[in-house]
């Protein structure tokens, strides 16, 4: 279901890399040997045979299973001035991702089999890492009638989502869940009651009150999640809840999981690192997104959800926008920030280094987005397809200083100094990214 540009399978030896794959129980210094695009062997440090392979001195560097992002806006068709398959996958590879799921709220939305086929074809010529394309749940994202979900699946849609907009009608939502029994595929949900959030541009609370900005209250998210958990339970359907932002939402997902509902959930790096206090700057480029940044208690609830598995994956909700749509007053600006190139570094800097979460948990959650979309979890286990992110946890860098791989620059990390950098990404057995400044010293 995922497509990418075919390239040469990697033959690569990462000498003396510190490997960490908590799910496979791999933790220690090894020579990581990739042959023909597969993990061939985890050899004792310095012992691997590197004949006919490229050798990288990875002493002091970390190798993780590469990351998987279930929530990316590639903006094609229609808004290629913001992003396209080539730039978006390049940005993802630079962030250590070996797979992404593209959202369907393009212009026009992806709602026909022909759209899906064309995008899969495009990925086979342009994508540097595997991409799965979603189709919309409703025709034109209007929330009124279902798309031809079976045909879309046959054409290659990995799942369905009206992301960017909620499915406001409970009747249509229920119908989609019923139809899932026929077409299969994940249904990913942007949960926002359009009535309760009308006019909202930031979290409703003391900061919106102080700034005179329209509030988008937490309950506009949590009540929709509660509705859809109930519907999913009733229809025995499977749903994926996107970008959780509020403490109430985490609590509802936790309870639904405990009750046996087939539900998975994601949280974004910006919701895990920032609060609505940032909006006091009135800078829409970095701090206007949907759902909005919320209070510290919400951020803490998301972290707790990440820890206990209520939230199984981190998703960037990479939402590129052109400068023209961000160089306007806050209320007029487009919602969304980019995140692919900074996800690991930001979370490493903001959560792992201060000791809020373990590195192992971060690594696990950054690859946790594959399973909800029926994609095999990236792993370092010998025999598997090579999907590896080689990172320098000590490298400090200032975001934006050297530009972006993405076509857009609306990064919430713009100007921040982060510690931890992806040096090399191997995706689907191919070297998808090397940091330009990373000198590839051949090990002795």
């Amino acid at each position: 279901m995922l497509d990418l540009r075919a390239g040469r399978p990697a033959d690569l030896v990462l000498r003396r890399a510190t490997l960490l794959d908590p799910v496979a129980g791999i933790d220690g210094v090894h020579d990581l040997v990739i042959r023909g695009g597969r993990i061939a062997e985890l050899a004792a440090p310095g012992e691997a045979d590197a004949a006919d392979a490229e050798e990288l001195d990875a002493e002091g560097l970390h190798a993780f299973p590469a990351f998987f992002d279930p929530h990316v806006h590639l903006r094609t068709p229609g808004q290629e001035h913001k992003e396209d398959v080539e730039t978006g996958t390049r940005a993802a590879a630079a962030g250590g991702f070996c797979g992404i799921i593209a959202m369907a709220n393009t212009s026009p939305p992806i709602d026909t089999a022909a759209d899906i086929s064309a995008l899969c074809e495009q990925a086979r010529t342009q994508a540097s890492i595997p991409v799965g394309f979603t189709a919309t749940v409703t025709v034109g994202m209007k929330g009124e009638e279902l798309t031809e979900m079976v045909e879309l699946r046959d054409a290659g849609a990995i799942g369905f989502t009206d992301d960017g907009l909620p499915i406001a009608s409970a009747r249509i939502m229920r119908r989609a869940l019923q139809y899932q029994r026929l077409c299969g595929g994940q249904i990913a949900l942007h949960e926002q009651d359009p009535e309760l959030s009308a006019g909202g541009v930031m979290h409703e609370g003391p900061v919106s009150a102080a700034l005179g900005l329209g509030g988008w209250p937490s309950v506009a998210e949590s009540t929709m999640i509660a509705r859809d958990c109930a519907l999913a339970a009733y229809e025995e359907a499977r749903i994926h809840v996107q970008h959780l932002s509020a403490a109430e939402s985490v609590e509802i997902v936790r309870a639904a999981k405990a009750a046996g509902v087939q539900i998975s959930a994601e949280a974004s790096p910006h919701h895990l690192c920032l609060t609505d206090e940032e909006v006091r700057s009135l800078d829409p480029g970095r701090f206007k997104m949907n759902p909005p940044l919320r209070r510290e208690a919400d951020r803490q609830a998301l972290i707790a959800g990440l820890r206990d598995g209520t939230i199984e994956c981190i998703a960037t909700d990479h939402a590129p926008h052109h400068t023209d749509e961000k160089e306007v007053p806050f209320e007029q600006a487009a919602f969304g920030v980019t995140g692919l190139e900074t996800a690991f570094a930001a979370l490493h800097t903001e959560l792992v280094m201060p000791g809020v979460i373990d590195l192992a948990l971060l690594v696990e959650r950054l690859a946790g987005g594959a399973a909800p979309f029926d994609v095999p979890r990236p792993t370092l286990a010998p025999g598997s397809e090579a999907n590896v992110a080689l990172c320098d946890l000590a490298a400090a860098w200032t975001v934006g200083e050297d530009g972006y791989e993405s076509r857009s620059s609306n990064s919430w990390c713009e100007g921040r100094t982060l510690t931890g950098r992806v040096l090399v990404t191997v995706a689907a057995g191919q070297v998808a990214f090397r940091l330009r400044s990373f000198s590839l010293g051949v090990a002795a």
Partner: protein, 321 residues
């Protein structure tokens, strides 16, 4: 002070300095020739994206009284109608090398963005529902003249707080000057969490008698897409400031324009406690003081007004028509 973008960033000392300056302009205003040459040869641009009577006219007159050249741009009828972005409009006007740009805009943060795009001093004349710092300054000025000091005074701000930039700026300014502020209005018109700005919130006029000052807000019918109160009749029945509710020693204020008979009764507007007319008069001198402070001011040039006054009988060259 380079810009006046919000009252939040103006400390008590700076507020008092502007009010003191305004007092001296009030003295100038009592002369036959009300003009001083302080800003002669300099240009002030007013850029209004929203309708305004008081704020635009008083800033324009303030600039003229200070002998600045004035360019007034209203969004309606300008290139804004042709789709020009705020950034491009500001770049265009900045080409005239103005000393100051006074901007009113329907969205929060607009003045702050403009300040990043122009070397001119920027004055926020109202940005969305966010702030209206010159209004707060003129209101503090008006009260200071009446009460001497705001220290320990109880001020009730009544009405549509949700849509009101005046309520936000005044709450901050009144508190900074030592007053205790109560916000009063129907729950649907009080933004959730605003008490964290350091005020009390109540949904009833019970207890209004404790107030030294009652500050009524305009029901912003043009901003209400949604029916946030069942009817104006019901609003008036519960929250209108009338002569029955307003005690004889309480002062009444309103930023204007008033919906007569909605938030305030006609009798209350015309009552001797009403400071509404004084607020308008204060608007001129306070806005002169703001322009002076940003463009000519600072403690290092304290005698400039005096000099100006001395020269004010001389013909002023290049004054705007």
């Amino acid at each position: 002070m380079k810009n006046l973008l919000s009252i939040e960033e103006v400390d008590r000392g700076a507020i008092e300095a502007i009010l003191d300056r305004a007092e001296s302009f009030a003295e100038v205003g009592r002369r036959d020739i009300k003009k001083v040459p302080t800003l002669r040869g300099r240009t002030v641009v007013t850029l209004f994206y929203e309708s305004s009577t008081r704020t635009s006219s008083s800033f324009e007159l303030a600039a003229k009284r200070l002998s600045a050249d004035l360019v007034s741009v209203k969004a309606a009828g300008s290139s804004v109608d042709k789709g020009e972005s705020l950034k491009d409009t500001v770049a265009t006007l900045s080409a005239y090398d103005p000393a100051a740009i006074v901007i009113r805009h329907p969205y929060a943060g607009a003045a702050q963005m403009v300040a990043a795009w122009t070397p001119a001093a920027v004055v926020n004349a109202g940005d969305g529902k966010h702030e209206h710092p010159s209004q707060a300054l003129l209101d503090v000025y008006t009260l200071r003249r009446r009460l001497g000091s705001l220290e320990g005074r109880k001020i009730w701000i009544v009405g549509d707080v949700l849509h009101s930039r005046v309520a936000r700026s005044n709450l901050i300014a009144f508190r900074r000057m030592g007053a205790e502020v109560t916000l009063c209005g129907p729950p649907t018109l009080i933004p959730r969490g605003i008490e964290e700005l350091g005020c009390r919130v109540t949904h009833s006029l019970d207890g209004l008698e404790e107030a030294d000052v009652v500050y009524a807000l305009r029901m912003q019918l043009e901003r209400m897409n949604d029916k946030l109160v069942p009817s104006l009749r019901e609003y008036a029945a519960n929250f209108q400031i009338d002569t029955r509710r307003l005690g004889p020693r309480q002062l009444l204020m309103h930023p204007g324009p008033v919906n007569r008979g909605v938030e305030i009764s006609g009798e209350a507007i015309d009552s001797p406690q009403s400071l509404i007319g004084e607020q308008v008069a204060a608007g001129l001198v306070v806005r002169m003081a703001i322009l002076y402070e940003l463009l000519a001011g600072g403690p290092e040039r304290p005698s400039a007004i005096g000099e100006g006054a001395a020269q004010s009988s001389a013909p002023v060259i290049g004054q705007p028509a």
